[in-house]
Structures are given as structure tokens and as C-alpha cells.
């Protein structure tokens, strides 16, 4: 089971981190304005930025 476990973290650690960042972004703006809004723009901006970078790769 050992090698498979390390496989899981190797593959999913970055997506999981991005998932947490997006979730923070989604819920931050529900709590307030100003800094909370800015936090949500960063949280939702990161997945958009990574996607666009992938699309532009030639």
C-alpha cells in the first residue's frame, strides 16, 4: 500500500491546496466587504490564472 499512498499525495496535494484556496475565496466574500472581497478575488483568481496559463502553453 505504501507506494500507492505516496502516489495519492504526489498527484493530489497541489489540486487539494487549490481546492482549499478556491473554497476560501467562495466563502470569504459572504462574510464581509473590503478585505474579505479581496481575499475572494485572490482565491478565485488562482484557479483561473493556472487554467489560462495551461491554455496558453504552446
Amino acid at each position: 500500500m505504501k507506494p500507492r499512498q505516496s502516489n495519492f499525495w504526489k498527484v493530489f496535494s497541489v489540486p487539494l491546496a487549490i481546492g482549499l484556496v478556491s473554497a476560501t475565496g467562495l466563502f470569504a466574500a459572504l462574510l464581509g466587504e473590503g478585505a474579505w472581497d479581496a481575499l475572494s478575488w485572490i482565491g478565485l483568481g488562482i484557479p483561473v490564472w493556472i487554467s489560462v496559463r495551461g491554455l496558453l502553453k504552446r
Binding site: S22, A23, A29, L30, L31, L44, P47
Partner: protein, 370 residues
């Protein structure tokens, strides 16, 4: 993961996606302009223009507004008054032939709360944006349309989950965010499908689940009527129908006293689906950012103006209230709307590339079978 397990998940991913793709593409495309409906209304000149009057011009009371509305649309009755935070000098009014008339046959307009002048809101009653909204909400098919879309949304969520499971075997030998651009078109789109799919996953899940909840709104409101509302108005079960209502003049003051610290969101007039035959229901929202999406009804007897009950908030009504901002993306200013649109477009790319990958593999398999 065993190859048999992979094949099983792959089967789930292929078919849940294929069945919902056409609907999801329609939802993503119609959802795009809906994100900016406020801005589009302004651009098209459809946004209601509230007259500029000197600061401190006195406001009419609610009964005067009811009379102004009735004078504007004779023969119709009031269904709802609603408030918008960014428009302190106007109120939304919804009227129809009878109080129980279904929402799509009602007429929505605004009233200037200082003069009682009606202000038409064309985009609330028809036009391009209304077509987008109806396609997005029920495809012009009423409850069956909503439930079909709720089912498609559920398949979408299943497709996301199975896609995430498949991400592991596909990515075992690849670095995160690697896109193989030098081999074949199929590999490039496979990598992009995996990359964009996995990074937009949280957003797509939240928008998917909240969309399913919103699509079930009619059922949720019915549950509230049968459960919470019917208990509150139990003493009125055999009361004769009202022939006239006490004036609405002080409804807001009464509701404020019954639910201190809360703000009015809308009033449901007697006989509408958000009230009983014998009550005005003033729906109060919390005054913090988070609780402003949660509504507490204050039921006011429509003949004596006594408070019958301050409603509780069943969990499913809270879930419906919180689903709205999380589905619309309208709670974090213009940058959030732009990001929402970008994520929507990225979802279209994931759907399109998924369809393409399925098609390419299918033709390859057919040729090898030959």
C-alpha cells in the same frame, strides 16, 4: 487502482457527462449574460431610473404605496413589495390578477417611495434577459423543466466526482499542470481537460450543488408551506376568507418590533405562496453580511394587525437562501463577476474538451475494431 476499477469509473464518468453535457452547455451559455444582468440592463437603458429629489423628501407610507400601485394597475391585486439595498427611494411591486397567480404571469414594476410614481422595469417582465433567465431556470417548461435541470445538475456533480477519481491514474506519471503540446492534439486536450477540470473543481461543485438546490426551490417552498407556515396559521384553518385587509401603513414598524435588529426584505400579501389567506408576511433579513441571506417571516394578522407568529428558519430555507449568492456570484463586486464569468467559460472548455476526447476515442476504437 486496478484496471477494472478504472474502467468502471471511466464508464460512470463518460455516461454521466454525456447525458448532462448538452444541458450544462446551455446552462453555462445562458448563465454568462445572467452574471452581468444588472450591467446589461443599464447598458440597454432598461434599468429603472429613480428621479432625483432633494435630500430628506418625505417618504409615503405603505398603504399610500399600495394605493398608488392599485391606481397604476386597476383590476389587479398586490402580491409583493420588495426592497433593494442600493435603492432607498424605490420599492419593487409585484401585482397580478389574483394573489395566488403564478410568478411568470405577474407584473413587476417599481414605485418611487416619495411620490408614488410607477417606474416600469421592462427587463423584469420580458425581453432578451428574461428569455435567458427562463431557459436557465426551467427551459419554459415549469416545474418539470426545473426538475429535469436539477437531475442534470446531479449528473454533473457525479461527473465531477468520477472525474476526480480518474485524475489519479491519468496523472500518476505527469507533473501537475503539465500540458503535452508536442505529441498530439488529443493529448494536449486530455491534459487541459484534466488540468482545468481539477482546478475549477471546487467552484463547479459549489455552483452545481447550489444550482440543484435552487432548481428545487418550488419543492422547498411547498415543504415550508406544509410544515412551518401551516403550523403557524393553524388557528385560522376554519376562519372565513377576508373580504378586505387592514391598511398596510404600519407593517414595517410592527415587523421591526417583532424581529428587532433585522431589515425588511419583502412583504408577501395575503393569499400569495409566501403567506396565508389571512396574513401579511413580512420577511426580515439579518443585518450582518452573512445573515442578510437568511429570511425570518413575521406573520401579521391582515384584519387586526396583531403579530400571529415570528417564524423559525427551517434548515432547508436557510440552504436555499445561502444557495442564491453562491450560485449567482453577485456578492463580491465586479472583480468577482468577471472571475465568475471566466470560471463559467472554463467550464464550457472542460465540457467541450470532454466531448471531443470521447469522440476521438470512439472513432479510434471503431477503426481498431475494423
Amino acid at each position: 487502482m486496478k484496471s477494472k476499477t478504472i474502467r468502471r469509473w471511466s464508464f460512470i464518468h463518460t455516461w454521466t457527462s454525456l447525458i448532462c453535457t448538452a444541458f450544462l452547455l446551455m446552462l453555462a451559455l445562458t448563465g454568462l449574460p445572467l452574471i452581468f444582468s444588472h450591467e446589461i440592463d443599464h447598458l440597454l437603458g432598461n434599468a429603472p431610473q429613480v428621479q432625483a429629489l432633494p435630500e430628506g423628501t418625505p417618504q409615503l407610507d405603505l398603504q399610500q404605496l399600495v394605493q398608488a400601485a392599485e391606481a397604476h394597475r386597476p383590476g389587479e391585486v398586490m402580491q409583493y413589495f420588495g426592497w433593494e439595498e442600493d435603492e432607498p427611494n424605490a420599492v419593487y411591486a409585484i401585482m397580478a390578477a389574483t394573489a395566488g397567480t403564478e410568478p411568470n404571469s405577474s407584473h413587476t414594476f417599481m414605485l418611487d417611495t416619495r411620490t408614488g410614481q410607477p417606474i416600469e422595469v421592462p427587463s423584469a417582465n420580458g425581453g432578451f434577459m428574461m428569455v435567458m433567465l427562463r431557459l436557465h431556470v426551467d427551459m419554459f417548461a415549469g416545474l418539470p423543466g426545473k426538475l429535469l435541470l436539477a437531475f442534470m445538475g446531479t449528473l454533473f456533480v457525479l461527473a465531477i466526482i468520477s472525474g476526480t477519481v480518474l485524475y489519479l491514474p491519468f496523472m500518476r506519471r505527469n507533473e501537475f499542470a503539465s500540458v503535452r503540446t508536442d505529441k498530439s492534439r488529443r493529448l494536449r486536450w486530455l491534459d487541459l481537460h484534466n488540468l482545468i477540470g481539477v482546478v475549477t473543481l471546487t467552484w463547479a461543485l459549489v455552483v452545481g450543488v447550489t444550482g440543484v438546490i435552487s432548481a428545487c426551490a418550488d419543492l422547498i417552498i411547498d415543504a415550508w408551506r406544509n410544515d412551518s407556515l401551516s403550523a403557524m396559521v393553524e388557528p385560522y384553518r376554519n376562519a372565513p376568507p377576508l373580504t378586505r385587509h387592514a391598511p398596510a401603513t404600519h407593517l414595517l414598524e410592527i415587523a421591526h418590533q417583532a424581529a428587532p435588529g433585522m431589515q425588511p426584505d419583502f412583504i408577501a400579501f395575503p393569499g400569495t405562496r409566501f403567506s396565508s389567506e389571512h396574513h401579511y408576511a413580512v420577511f426580515m433579513k439579518g443585518s450582518t453580511h452573512l445573515t442578510s441571506h437568511l429570511l425570518t417571516p413575521v406573520l401579521i394578522d391582515a384584519s387586526t394587525l396583531d403579530v400571529t407568529a415570528v417564524g423559525d428558519r427551517p434548515w432547508y430555507m436557510n440552504a436555499m437562501g445561502m444557495s442564491q449568492p453562491l450560485h449567482f456570484g453577485d456578492y463580491g463586486g465586479m472583480p468577482m463577476k468577471i472571475l465568475w464569468a471566466a470560471l463559467d467559460l472554463l467550464t464550457i472548455i472542460v465540457l467541450g474538451s470532454g466531448l471531443y476526447l470521447w469522440w476521438v476515442r470512439r472513432t479510434v476504437r471503431k477503426e481498431s475494431a475494423r
